[in-house]
């Protein structure tokens, strides 16, 4: 068991919880709208951007992660629209490119940037979080809440059925791009905690667990962030207790939450009871 001073532990704890809440809230959109490949591509774009930030000392890795993830979000949606290709195909083209760029940038980074910096980009470095990072995440959370309130009705309409939403007078394109934009920002800011390769897990697993447990989208929007926060806390405890990498620990905890939700899902229990009856 590692003993950590309070001034390090508190930002770590708050940062992890905020990352869990934000990622899993956006995860509800990602899971329901089947945007998982897109989230995957964004997380790798953020990784490539952060790697560029390490390679070029005047650039800030966090801001570069943000720029790459947002550009990816705004590039993929319209590109899929214009090319009329399946999103999977477009993502399939960009995902390896981002991974390759990330590795190239890391290889170009000054020797001090390789090692700990590269590892933290890949697997996360939650103990490096400062209160300033927590404030950034809290700012994003506030922005997300405001947007969810402002565009919430349109978001719900799209989550029900995009075609019905368009036919009802909802500007589906605007709302869809807003979802992509928010997902990109969330991925970029959470990158430092879980790492580029695992941020995606924190986005998908708690949200998928919430979908296992309830049928009501309003409850899912409350439950998913709660499960995301729980996974982050459990992951942090696991990491500190067993001296494991933080990103991997959070992912394992999130996977555990998802597995439990699948096993305990009332939807399946009801079906099983009906079969027995």
């Amino acid at each position: 068991m590692i003993v950590i001073p309070l001034h390090i532990l508190l930002p770590t704890l708050f940062g992890s919880i905020l990352a869990g809440v934000l990622c899993s809230t956006m995860g509800v959109f990602v899971v329901r709208l089947k945007l998982a490949p897109l989230g995957f591509a964004m997380s790798h774009a953020a990784f490539a951007g952060a790697a560029l930030g390490l390679a070029v000392p005047v650039l800030d890795p966090l801001w570069m992660a943000l720029v790459f993830a947002v550009v990816m979000a705004f590039l993929l949606g319209p590109l899929a629209d214009v090319s009329r290709l399946n999103m999977d195909a477009v993502v399939g083209a960009f995902f390896p490119l981002m991974m390759a760029l990330g590795l190239i940038f890391l290889s170009l980074a000054p020797s001090s940037g390789i090692g700990r910096g590269a590892l933290s980009l890949l697997w996360g470095s939650v103990l490096g979080i400062t209160f300033s990072d927590v404030i950034k995440l809290a700012g994003l959370a506030a922005f997300l809440v405001v947007l969810l309130i402002a565009l919430g009705k349109g978001f719900l309409a799209i989550l029900l059925d995009r075609r019905l939403a368009i036919a009802s007078g909802i500007n589906a394109r605007l709302h869809h791009h807003a979802i992509l934009f928010l997902t990109a920002i969330t991925v970029a800011l959470a990158l430092q905690i879980t790492g580029g390769l695992l941020v995606y897990a924190l986005m998908i697993l708690p949200a998928s667990a919430a979908f296992q447990l309830v049928y009501d989208i309003k409850k899912i929007f409350l439950l998913a962030p709660a499960l995301g926060a729980l996974a982050a806390i459990l992951g942090l405890l696991l990491s500190l207790g067993a001296d494991l990498p933080i990103g991997s620990s959070i992912t394992v905890a999130a996977a555990g939450v998802f597995l439990l939700a699948v096993i305990l899902s009332p939807k399946r229990l009801r079906r099983r009871l009906r079969e027995i009856a």
Binding site: A150, L156, L160, A167, S168, Y215, I217
Partner: protein, 245 residues
């Protein structure tokens, strides 16, 4: 364009990558509060005609106007006045929305940004569900309902939304005979109660298509006849025969 509720002038539409237009030089006017049937064989352009009217599909040539305003793909505000029930819209079992929320969402188009549903909106949704006879389904997930029940929920949503134009694409297809009858009667009731201008696409005979005042017959994208219901009934039968062949 004239002052009809729905007006099309010389409308032709061709889908990207296709050589044959889905609609060819369609011109017609639909008066306020009229109930119009659109019949024709598969691939005649019936669904395309509905989607051109609400702007989901762009007219390649010609003009489309609804309630006096030109229709385009960005006519979001105008589309709030037009309720459209697509033919193949059925919710999968995992859809995470309750029936009452789907009905309430019918009111969303009229609300501004930052406005949450108020008591009046909730009351409108509840009244709509009562009128359609689906109170008991309010707390059920939409995806767990039968096809007929889902159609009723969507019709309650139309009622809560209070549009001025209603476009229905094969509203009774894939329903059992009892549900077909119930849904048809509901459509007629909603049409009368809200004073809507209603266009119903159907390729099968039944209560709904028998009740329309006027029948537009499409064949291979062309409007081949536009007649009052009784005069059209023989023509509609002819189209049905053609489809079977």
């Amino acid at each position: 364009m004239d002052a009809a509720t729905v007006a099309l002038r010389g409308v032709s539409t061709i889908y990207e990558g296709e050589r044959v237009p889905a609609l060819r030089e369609i011109s017609c006017s639909i008066d306020d509060r009229s109930l119009v049937g659109i019949v024709g064989p598969n691939g005649a352009g019936k669904t395309t005609l509905l989607e051109v009217i609400n702007g989901l599909v762009r007219a390649s040539v010609g003009e489309v106007a609804v309630l006096g305003a030109p229709v385009s793909s960005t006519s979001h505000r105008l589309r709030r006045e037009i309720a459209y029930l697509p033919q193949d819209l059925f919710f999968e079992a995992t859809t995470p929305f309750l029936a009452r929320d789907v009905v309430l969402m019918g009111c969303f188009g009229r609300m501004g940004v930052f406005r949450f549903p108020r008591r009046a909106d909730r009351d409108a949704a509840r009244d709509a569900m009562t009128a359609v006879g689906i109170d008991a389904l309010a707390a059920r997930p939409i995806g767990r309902l039968s096809g007929g029940q889902q159609r009723k929920v969507l019709l309650a949503r139309v009622l809560a939304r209070r549009p001025r134009v209603l476009l229905l694409d094969e509203p009774t297809t894939n329903l059992d005979p009892e549900s077909k009858e119930e849904v048809s009667q509901l459509v007629l009731r909603i049409h009368g109660r809200l004073g809507l201008t209603t266009l119903v696409v159907s390729h099968e005979a039944g209560l709904l298509i028998d009740a329309v005042e006027r029948v537009l017959t499409l064949v291979r994208g062309r409007l081949v006849s536009d007649r009052p219901q009784q005069a059209a009934s023989r023509g509609a039968t002819g189209v049905a025969t053609e489809e079977r062949l």
